[in-house]
């Protein structure tokens, strides 16, 4: 059978593939929920079940529509992209509008764990009054988890009176304990209104520094890389390959380690940098303890980390400029300075622009240098505890959601992430427009 042509064929194939994926995920989730009461299986059972359904399903569909087998080559990449890239993004959008947090995590609250004295169908008798034990008022409508060794079940309370409560389903096992589930709720725009109401303490300064950081780090690295590239591109220079290889070292070392090493080197009292400065007659500089110097420290460390890449990129771009141009310029009596401004720099613009833009996009979300070098600090007055002097948006989001200062406000963190998504996509769109990547696909 031939492949149905055109848009119709494409949509048909896509819907068959997506249908297969959704069907198997659905079976996985349903199977997990069904098994939960009997086995208390780990969460990844969903993935295993889905795979168990998907493989035979794919073979069956392939038999029915032989032309679809060509599309199976896309299936591994497509399913991973959907589950581990696109689904988290959609989930971020959803979580940004909830009050998901450490206290409302969607997991049972073990401090409300109460023993079940007697069970009769959906009716449970607790050892204490329901409202006190589960700390809910009114209790009807709350979600609870009922569990025993190797069994667990989520159910909603239909009514509660004294020590007794009635669930909306019958546990298929002898219940031992019951605990309230700290479900998170949809809160509308509350996270965003919080961000805006605290904008002068967090959003504005953090965003401003984020832009300044990304921009100046790219410009600084590019300038340095350009100079070195021009110097090393001189074919008369002896040992130029040696220099190139040796200078690339900070790119070859894993950044996650070198940044932490820099923390030690920039120490105020006995860091190697301040020792060197002391010999040069400069008083010790509070690299990581002063809000302004910390910013300079970040830029300098990022220069150390990033200039080899820019140097290599410049050398690559320079090698595409034909020598004849320079010879012609020489014949016309241009001096090297004129050749630089008239030939080299204009011709470098086209290949370097996309590199600069993608470097900007990378540094805009360069979490690890900020978090490992300064941890976002030092503390600055009049700021939120999660948004200090050198925090950028992504480290602010991270600290809001996962650090002690942020008190595990996951929903708020997701809202900040959503803002970053919007900004990152905007940068990427500019990048595409400039480089014409979309046209190149054809």
């Amino acid at each position: 059978m031939k492949h149905p042509p055109g848009l119709k064929g494409f949509l048909l194939a896509l819907s068959l593939l997506l249908g297969l994926l959704i069907l198997s995920t659905g079976v996985g989730i349903l199977g997990y929920l069904a098994l939960e009461a009997y086995l208390a299986p780990p969460g990844w059972t969903i993935l295993v079940l889905a795979l168990l359904v998907m493989v035979p399903g794919a073979i069956l569909v392939g038999r029915l529509f032989p032309w679809l087998t060509d599309w199976y080559y896309f299936l591994p990449a497509l399913s991973f992209l959907l589950v581990f890239t696109l689904y988290p993004i959609a989930l971020t959008v959803y979580l940004a509008f909830t009050d998901y947090s450490g206290a409302r995590s969607g997991f049972p609250d073990r401090s409300t764990e109460t023993q079940v004295v007697a069970q009769e169908g959906p009716r449970l008798l607790l050892e204490e009054p329901v409202e006190e034990a589960l700390r809910c008022r009114p209790c009807a409508g709350e979600t609870v988890e009922v569990y025993a060794e190797g069994h667990r079940l989520r159910a909603r309370i239909l009514e509660a009176e004294g020590n007794a409560l009635v669930l909306d389903r019958i546990p298929p096992f002898q219940a031992a304990f019951v605990a309230k589930v700290n479900a998170f709720r949809f809160v509308g725009l509350r996270n965003f209104s919080f961000i805006l109401s605290q904008a002068s303490k967090a959003l504005f300064p953090v965003f401003a520094w984020n832009v300044v950081f990304a921009l100046s780090t790219v410009l600084l690295n590019a300038l340095f890389g350009l100079i070195l590239g021009l110097v090393l591109n001189n074919k008369a220079l002896k040992l130029r390959n040696f220099y190139r290889t040796v200078l690339i070292v900070s790119w070859a070392l894993p950044g996650v380690i070198t940044v932490q090493v820099w923390v030690a080197l920039l120490n105020y009292n006995f860091g190697a940098i301040n020792r060197l400065l002391g010999v040069l007659g400069i008083y010790p500089i509070p690299w990581l303890n002063d809000p302004d110097w910390a910013k300079v420290a970040i830029l300098l460390v990022n220069l150390w980390l990033g200039f080899p890449y820019m140097m290599t990129a410049t050398l690559g771009a320079l090698s595409t400029i034909p020598d004849e141009l320079y010879e012609a310029a020489k014949v016309d009596g241009a001096n090297p300075w004129q050749a630089l401004w008239g030939i080299t720099l204009p011709l470098l613009e086209k290949p370097m622009l996309p590199i600069l833009l993608s470097s900007f996009a990378f540094n805009f979300n360069n979490f690890y240098i900020i978090y490992l070098l300064t941890g976002g600090g030092p503390a600055q007055e009049g700021r939120l505890a999660t948004a200090q002097a050198t925090d950028i948006l992504i480290s602010w989001a991270y600290k809001t959601a996962f650090s002690a200062e942020g008190q595990s406000a996951y929903g708020l963190g997701a809202a900040i992430s959503l803002l970053i998504f919007v900004l990152t996509v905007a940068i990427s769109l500019v990048n595409f427009r400039v480089t014409g990547a979309l046209r190149e696909v054809r």
């Binding site: 492949h3 194939a13 969460g43 990844w44 060509d70 080559y73 896309f74 591994p76 990449a77 890239t85 696109l86 689904y87 989930l91 971020t92 979580l95 100046s216 110097v231 220079l237 200078l247 690339i248 070292v249 070859a252 070392l253 996650v256 380690i257 070198t258 932490q260 090493v261 030690a264 006995f270 190697a272 020792r275 060197l276 002391g278 010999v279 040069l280 007659g281 008083y283 010790p284 302004d292 300079v296 150390w304 290599t312 996309p354 470097s359 978090y371 992504i394 989001a397 996962f402 996951y410 997701a414 992430s417 998504f421 990152t424 990048n431 480089t435 990547a437 979309l438 696909v441 054809r442």
Partner: protein, 439 residues
């Protein structure tokens, strides 16, 4: 318009520098005029340093003038001394730069051999030589391997693991030897063949070692004795992520390159590029939620799955480009003889694609080796930390920091990536820069 933007940027940058200079650099009130206890302070030391540089430049000038004058006299030609002089100044500049770039590296390597933590203490050595006293040139009075010994303390290896280690070491030696021969002699076919085989052997030995080591074999006291376990964790995570990246991108790249008849190939490619706009780690809250729901927090599986999305777009794109550069005539001949698409893919194209797979694997391996956000989020137990997360425990949290051990761990942890990078330098350089252009 463009020029205006450039001027605006430069103006802003200059203003920033000006503001900083005014308020921080030259504002005496803003910093403490106090030298740290035990450090060396040379008033106007920078004048001496500048003087030294100037002296060197003058020496260069003198040398180039005399040298050209002499050669001109001997050979009877008239040549300008300036090219020689500028060449010399360039070398001087590059060497000063190399000193600056390697300064941190040298300090850390030296600190790792210093069991007394001398480089990170207030103690001031008394040698009479200024730079040594200031510890600008590392002063390590009694170098020893004590710091390294602490990292491997209490590690119990089974005999077959020792065998694997030896095998890996021999393979590494062989690879290095052939690499050296390749430099010295003219490259021959057998060198390529054996180097490839030995590399494969090395990778397999390391992978087998990483798989068979278990946390129970690390019996030493204190967190630093777990360092090798962290290295093993990192190798396992990065290796599996790299393999997964190859598996996921291979079939998709093949389909994009060869199934030009499929309707919707163009929208699919657009979709890939579109997905690349969203760096996956930005959805960290959602990934955390997803992994906690799947009970995969603090597991390697969870981290590998979370990483997997990152390279799919780029890898597929690169592999598609590679396949398009191979002529399809061989495949067409095979198709005429009745081979299916799957057979063509596995029997003809896969063997040809080995270099590309190595490239994608290495890119993902090195990328995830340095990844920190998700690793810090997902790996919560001491025994499942990777190198980056583990190193952090040496410098934060505790009151007394173990600088010497930290330095030793940094050196050991960096070595694999350093070797990989310099061993496959061409791959990385061309890959990153070409990738940036094509993205």
């Amino acid at each position: 318009m463009r020029r205006l933007l450039a001027f605006l940027l430069v103006g802003l940058a200059l203003y920033g520098v000006y503001w900083f200079a005014l308020n921080r650099l030259f504002d005496a009130g803003s910093y403490r005029k106090q030298v740290a206890f035990g450090s060396v302070f040379v008033p106007y030391g920078w004048v001496y340093a500048l003087g030294l540089l100037l002296g060197l430049v003058l020496l260069l000038l003198l040398y180039s003038l005399i040298h050209t004058a002499l050669t001109n006299r001997i050979q009877g030609r008239k040549r300008s001394p300036w090219p020689l002089f500028w060449q010399g100044v360039t070398h001087l500049f590059l060497w000063v730069l190399i000193l600056l770039v390697y300064y941190p590296v040298v300090q850390v390597v030296a600190a790792s051999f210093d069991p007394t933590n001398n480089l990170f203490s207030f103690r001031r050595p008394d040698t009479g030589f200024l730079l040594l006293d200031a510890k600008v040139i590392p002063y390590v009075p009694e170098p020893s391997l004590e710091n390294y010994a602490k990292l491997v303390e209490g590690v119990v290896l089974y005999p077959y693991q020792v065998g694997l280690l030896l095998l890996g070491g021999l393979a590494l030696l062989g690879v290095a030897l052939i690499g050296l021969l390749r430099r010295l002699l003219t490259p021959e076919d057998w060198m390529d063949f054996w180097q490839g085989r030995l590399l494969l052997l090395l990778a397999l030995a390391v992978f087998a070692l990483a798989l068979t080591l278990s946390p129970r074999q690390f019996t030493g006291q204190g967190t630093e004795a777990k360092f090798l376990l962290w290295v093993r964790n990192t190798f396992l995570i990065s290796g599996l992520t790299g393999l997964l990246a190859v598996l996921l991108t291979a079939t998709a790249g093949y389909a994009f390159a060869r199934f030009r008849h499929l309707p919707g190939r163009y929208p699919m490619l657009l979709f890939l590029i579109f997905v690349q706009m969203f760096p996956g780690f930005l959805a960290l809250v959602a990934i955390y939620y997803l992994l906690s729901r799947l009970d995969l927090l603090n597991t390697f599986t969870g981290l590998v799955l979370a990483y997997s999305g990152g390279i799919i777009s780029f890898g597929t794109w690169v592999y598609k480009g590679y396949l398009e550069s191979i002529s399809p005539s061989l495949e067409e001949a095979a198709m005429v003889d009745g081979a299916t698409k799957w057979q063509v893919f596995t029997k003809i194209l896969l063997p040809l694609s080995a270099p590309m797979f190595v490239f994608i694997f290495l890119l993902q391996f090195v990328g995830t080796y340095s990844e920190f956000v998700l690793a810090n989020l997902v790996l919560t137990g001491v025994e499942s930390w990777n190198v980056g997360v583990g190193l952090r425990s040496f410098t934060t949290g505790q009151f007394q920091t173990k600088w010497g051990i930290f330095a030793a761990a940094s050196v050991l942890g960096s070595l694999p990536i350093l070797l990989l990078f310099y061993g496959f330098q061409q791959y990385f350089v061309s890959g990153y820069t070409a990738g940036a252009v094509k993205e």
